[in-house]
Subunit: 319 residues, 3 copies
């Protein structure tokens, strides 16, 4: 590289280094002490192999040695999970002055408590799988749902993350659910409480907030928000119930929003597409947007040429 | 690892292994017999190299040896596709008692029938590319559309998957389209029938159901659903036409839903943003939400401080 | 492979090769001359390490050698960025007959001009981070926002891409923002102008058009479109202001659309969920959908069995 370019780069580096001295929040990081997102994703896929034994590409599995394989897999998960837990526990106020030994012991306890929930998680995921088979006329294959359905993937990762959330683990649960969000478009906060037989169809654009409570046999479609009424001045709201409660057998169709911590959708209620709900709905009710009036203009001669279809585009959007 | 931890892990492994004995659906898998999602994704990218020769990173391509390259590439795709087909054909009722030889022969026939459709798929994709160039004022570069536009990627993968769907291949078409869904946010079922010059702008949040039929020169925006009216009790609905038909030159603006198997949007019709359509619309009509009344409250002194903007947040959401 | 299969493949290859001779647009590519999306993604992550020093996995970083590390990192980015710039500048009308030396010099100048913007970009990203901490009651951890929040990732990549867009670089900025779109569901065109303290919550389904102008302290939720009124016959619209302006302290709740190049949302205005705005809104106004009437049907006995809930599904969708 020629000398002039070298000098330019040196000047730029000094420029950026001096900017690093400006005490920005983006620089307030403790190098070596952050969780490693790639390792967390690797842990997710190893946990999925435990939840769905035989899926997820460990082709060496055979039933006669599944005990050895599972033992090896669990030790591997434990090693990496402990490593990440030691890092993230420092973000927790209770551990800010803990010794390395105390952190290691706490991490080990959390990992073990988490692992003990695996059969329960599997029991729930099994019901989610059944709900997908019952709820989607486009499939009847278990393997299709497990391998290809983003809803089951997002909910399974959320069930795993939720157990770590209940164990007061900072940061890791959110990294897990944001990974699920990234690959599925389904954003479920790890704090959300979700009952059995939960089915998300299609999924993209779904948001489920931290304090949402969802009963059994609930079905949610794409672009649904289970959210808070307002989150301006939001730091005051931390820790309060800001998101709705859906009782058993509720269905929320695509594009609907259900908002507010005191909003309860009663048993068996059905919320129609694009509805905007901020008050409680009684059990068994069916709510839909009433008389959404459509304005239709006819053209005497149907015009099918793309190029001249909309010389006047003003008509079809009105306040 | 210390002895106590070893014992804890052994107990956990026994715990999970005994749960594996509970005959859950998540365990009903035939190890070694599931399709490999990573291999399917690899096949997708190799097929994209055939569709768009020269894109997708085979930098050794040169025109004088493109014949050899293509031959090698096609043999490679054939090998892996056959391997996956042999696995997934077992999910098909016609092949459940087939011999290995019969499966191999069926896989080979399907691969060949699929490959023969490649020129037709390329002809369609070529029109989709033209539709993007015509439809988006933000670009005029072919290469930008091919390399960067998620809509073209999702539709191309869908056109490939649709041919396998027509050949009655289980599972593989859905893995392909769910991969496209994951990277684009566009969820098109492989069963959907799509005409020429199809353009999806932006794309995220789009759902196109299995029995949707789309004509030529159709344009669809983000967050549009072409869906079913109801999918509760859905297993009864399998195989029926549950999703709408869009005739030629239809445009569906962002956030609109068009639902129902008997719903036909006539030639050249335009559906406005956020409209909710469950009945047929005649050719040439322009449909918009009529008089969506907005409630505007003015503050005498515009308040621009974030912190005090919404001390009363109740007003702006009402049922 | 048996002889018959070989012959079939040869016939297929000839079939596809002869289709390559049809002069389709999908074939109009200049092999060796296209930008490499994988290299561009790699550049993005290296730039993120510069923006957020210490994040993004360079575990060898230590403060005493950060100067050397940064120098090495910047040289690496420069090398690959120059390489991609030389390729994409050929798409620019000013460089179509440039010599290799002229292209190399232009690429070098653009890289340097881009690098000089890094401290400014960092200053803006720092305000975005603060806006997320202020705006989301679900977190108080800087590291959680930086590592896990898709909104900050999408906006940071957009701020980087926007500087290349301002330097008239073809194609690369769009590849960068479409990568962000793919992993976050947030589609911000590199042309959009975005002020300080920009916060996107949840994010999936957001579209921000090329000529959008956004002030400071703006907050946008999932599934919001800042779009154009009509983009049929769209090539005529290239270069015009087609997308809205949002002044300081504006909030746009989920599912709302704000459309049109002359639409200005005044300072401190709040746009409620699902609102559809195509005209300017004065400063300080609060706009919501008025009297969205809901139709509620009660069942005398709440029915909670999934299976019989919707024998009549026609009621809850009406035009």
């Amino acid at each position: 590289m020629e000398r002039k370019v070298q000098e330019e780069i040196s000047a730029l580096v000094q420029n950026i280094l001096s900017d690093y001295g400006n005490d920005r929040q983006v620089d307030q990081l403790d190098i070596h002490k952050q969780p490693d997102r790639d390792v967390v994703i690797d842990i997710i896929y190893k946990l999925l192999r435990v939840i769905f034994p035989g899926y997820y590409r460990d082709r060496t599995n055979r039933f006669y040695n599944i005990q050895n394989n599972l033992h090896t897999l669990m030790e591997d998960i434990l090693f990496h999970l402990n490593e990440q837990l030691v890092i993230v526990l420092r973000y927790h106020k209770d551990y800010q002055s803990a010794t390395d030994e105390e952190l290691a012991a706490a991490a080990q306890n959390i990992s073990m408590a988490f692992f003990r929930q695996i059969p329960k998680i599997r029991a729930y995921v099994d019901t989610d799988l059944q709900a997908a088979l019952d709820g989607d006329p486009a499939t009847s294959l278990i393997d299709e749902v497990v391998i290809a359905y983003p809803g089951l993937l997002a909910v399974t990762i959320n069930r795993l993350a939720h157990e770590l959330y209940l164990l007061s683990v900072p940061l890791l649960p959110r990294i897990m659910t944001e990974y699920a969000h990234s690959v599925t478009g389904i954003d479920i906060h790890p704090g959300a409480t979700i009952g059995k037989y939960f089915f998300i169809d299609h999924g993209t654009g779904i948001v489920v907030g931290e304090t949402t409570v969802i009963g059994d046999h609930v079905k949610v479609y794409q672009n649904v928000t289970l959210g808070a009424l307002s989150t301006r001045d939001s730091q005051k709201l931390r820790g309060t119930k800001r998101h709705p409660t859906l009782e058993d057998n509720v269905t929320i169709y695509s594009g609907a929003s259900v908002l507010g911590g005191e909003t309860v959708i009663g048993k068996g209620a059905v919320i129609g597409g694009n509805a905007f709900i901020t008050k409680s709905i009684p059990a068994g009710a069916r709510v839909s947007v009433k008389n959404q009036e459509m304005q239709i203009k006819y053209c005497h001669t149907p015009r099918v040429q793309t190029s001249d279809l909309e010389e006047d585009s003003s008509w079809y959007y009105t306040i």
